[in-house]
Amino acid sequence: MFIRLVRNELEKTWRSRWIVFAVMAGLFVLIAGGLYIFYVATQHRWSPPPAVAWQTTLRDEIAANQSSIAQLQQIKQQQGGSAGGPFRGGFSIDSVIARDQQAILDDQYLLDNNIAPLQSFSITLAALFGLGGIVMFLLLRVFGWLASEQIAGERSDRTIAILLSRPMSRDQLLLAKAVASFLISLAVVVVTFLIVYAMLAFIEGSLGPFTAQVAIAVDGSKPVGSGNLVVMSIPLFVLMCLGASMLGVLCVQGMALLISVVTGRWAAIGITLAVLFGAALVSAIVSGIITLISGNPNTAHFLNYLFVNVLVPVSAIAPVFGNAPTEAGTGMKEFGSQLATLAVWTVAFFAAAWLLFHRKQEAG
């Protein structure tokens, strides 16, 4: 019975909203085509570039950093007494030299231990960009919209009365709608990931290994070292990113369903999109003001308990390219805390939707 219900929901979404998926596919074709044209125009070649081993990239990076340090020290000597004085940007020559030295140490650590940084392979890059960042930001809004219609749309079309008068519980209907929404979004996310992977594999000139180990910093703001690294295989890393992204999707769908059980179609779509876009915008403005006043970006970190700010947890590890300290609030620790926050919000949204739907009087 439940499988038939899910099948119904999948069929309804596909038959009524196939145009949304067609538009998304069209956008991908346009973006991929545009990038390819750009590649051909700039690289003067039609085929992928030759692949470069990650060890080579790291050695090149070490060499570049060493040359950068040498140049900076030269500048420092020329400046004489004002050694290490601040640049216009507020940072000093010394701090840049220290950062480059740390980057060399980090790269050397990774080379010595045969641990590849995250940006080494097209598949790990695809996990970071295809399952995080702007791609997921936009996909989440589409999934929120589709989920918000699930019950509200039936109410506007009056078909909710037929569904609820049939021999099944409201739990079954709500669950079937949640499962169908989730399955559709999972398919879209996986396909998106594969497309991004294909594009990156072309740019990198290689599909890359699937069994190698990659490392992620626990705290992205601290130097890489044995105590600040989580090492895992590529399949595990990709699955972890996929799971985290899907938890974000589930959270959005829970919120959308909660709105959907109490309103009609257009109100549900409007409120869902207003929350997803509006709350993120308001939060960004508030965060900016707090940071400006306090002068410390960590002061606004409490906003990460707001679900709209943790919907794409992969973004917390995306800036961590393993071999150089980055900003605070990145790394596996932050990733874990965002997942926990998301899980709490997701459970709360679904519980509230379930409670309200159980009591909802469908007066027509």
């Binding site: 219900l5 009365a161 037929i162 569904l163 008068s165 049939r166 099944m168 007066a363 027509g364």
Partner: protein, 325 residues
């Protein structure tokens, strides 16, 4: 016969608005039951409670002995329903709509879907998208949807909405056939008195959330007598003459140059003779037997076609006796 629908002291309020006040009635298995009342009487609210869409504030509503709210899944196995406005997916074909709704009941029986499309006269248009259907076609498909899974009880909320006279006639024949041949219990809500009069064994008349009358049609329609519409050359004089005839009650007609008369016994010839003898030109005399319509007006105080009621019903089913000169 055992009652399949049992409603006992059922009440429902929407905020301060009292939609139903302690209504009680039952529907026996196999009967065609008429649920009558003007718009806003509480018919749809009652049906929504029976379907498990609303929970009553007091009293009980049961189908097959199962509470419609707390034991909804069990009660819902027994009935199929259509709503006042046909609820269908416009982006799917008629056949796909039936497939989708059939899946809510069990494995899809393609043969039954084809049979139902044929039964409601939708075989040819079954593969067209519902958004291209007329209102009447949607009503017919909704009826097929209600009959999916061979229910014991068919609950129809204003099923003649949007149907043309041919469609109404066809629906009446179909429902009668279903009741007699398949023993289906039919719960038929309508404000179209002629429909109920033609079709139903028993009726309940609802008005402002209260049951005004209930019972076998012959008991509820316990109004004997005749109504006459007479088109005359002089209304005032004609009214004066008719007032002198014993047993006749007269009032000026709603149509220009006509009077309306009612009587317990048939006075058509006497009235006609008296008017002609007094030198009044009689252009037309139409006699009808009193029916459910008159009871309805008496019970609810709402005349069909008045602003409080729905659109006027189609012409009365009993053929009028017309005397033309």
């Amino acid at each position: 016969m055992a009652a399949i629908v049992q409603v006992d002291r059922l009440s429902k309020n929407f905020g301060r608005v009292r939609a139903l006040h302690e209504i009680s009635f039952s529907v026996a298995e196999g009967e065609v039951f008429g649920f009558l009342g003007p718009n806003g009487a509480g018919k749809t609210t009652t049906i929504r409670i029976l379907l498990g869409l609303l929970n009553g504030d007091g009293g009980t509503a049961k189908i097959g002995g199962f509470d419609c709210w707390t034991e909804h899944a069990k009660a819902a196995r027994l009935f199929g329903a259509t709503l006042e406005q046909p609820a269908l997916y416009g982006f799917l074909s008629g056949r796909d709509n039936l497939r989708l709704f059939a899946r809510l009941l069990g494995p899809v029986d393609e043969a039954q879907i084809t049979e139902l499309l044929g039964l409601v006269g939708m075989t040819e248009r079954g593969d067209d998208k519902v958004k291209r259907y007329s209102m009447g076609m949607r009503q017919r498909l909704a009826l097929a949807q209600g009959m999916l899974g061979k229910p014991r009880l068919l609950i129809l909320d204003e099923p003649t909405n949007g149907l043309d006279p041919n469609g109404i006639h066809g629906l009446r024949i179909l429902l009668r056939k279903l009741a007699t041949e398949q023993g289906l219990t039919i719960f038929f809500s309508s404000h179209l008195l002629s429909e109920v009069e033609e079709l139903c064994d028993r009726v309940v008349v609802l008005h402002r959330g209260e049951v005004k009358a209930s019972g076998p049609l012959s008991e509820v329609v316990n109004v004997k007598g005749f109504n006459y519409r007479i088109d005359v050359s002089d209304v005032d004089k004609a009214m004066e003459i008719v007032r002198t005839i014993e047993g006749a009650t007269v009032e000026s007609g709603t149509i220009k140059d006509s009077i309306t008369v009612s009587s317990q016994t048939d006075l058509a010839r006497i009235i006609n003779h008296a008017l002609v003898a007094a030198g009044i030109g009689v252009d037309q005399l139409v006699r009808t037997e009193k029916g459910l319509e008159d009871v309805y007006i008496e019970l609810t105080g709402v005349a069909p076609g008045s602003p409080l009621s729905a659109p006027p019903p189609p012409p009365p089913p009993s053929p009028p006796v017309a005397v033309r000169r």
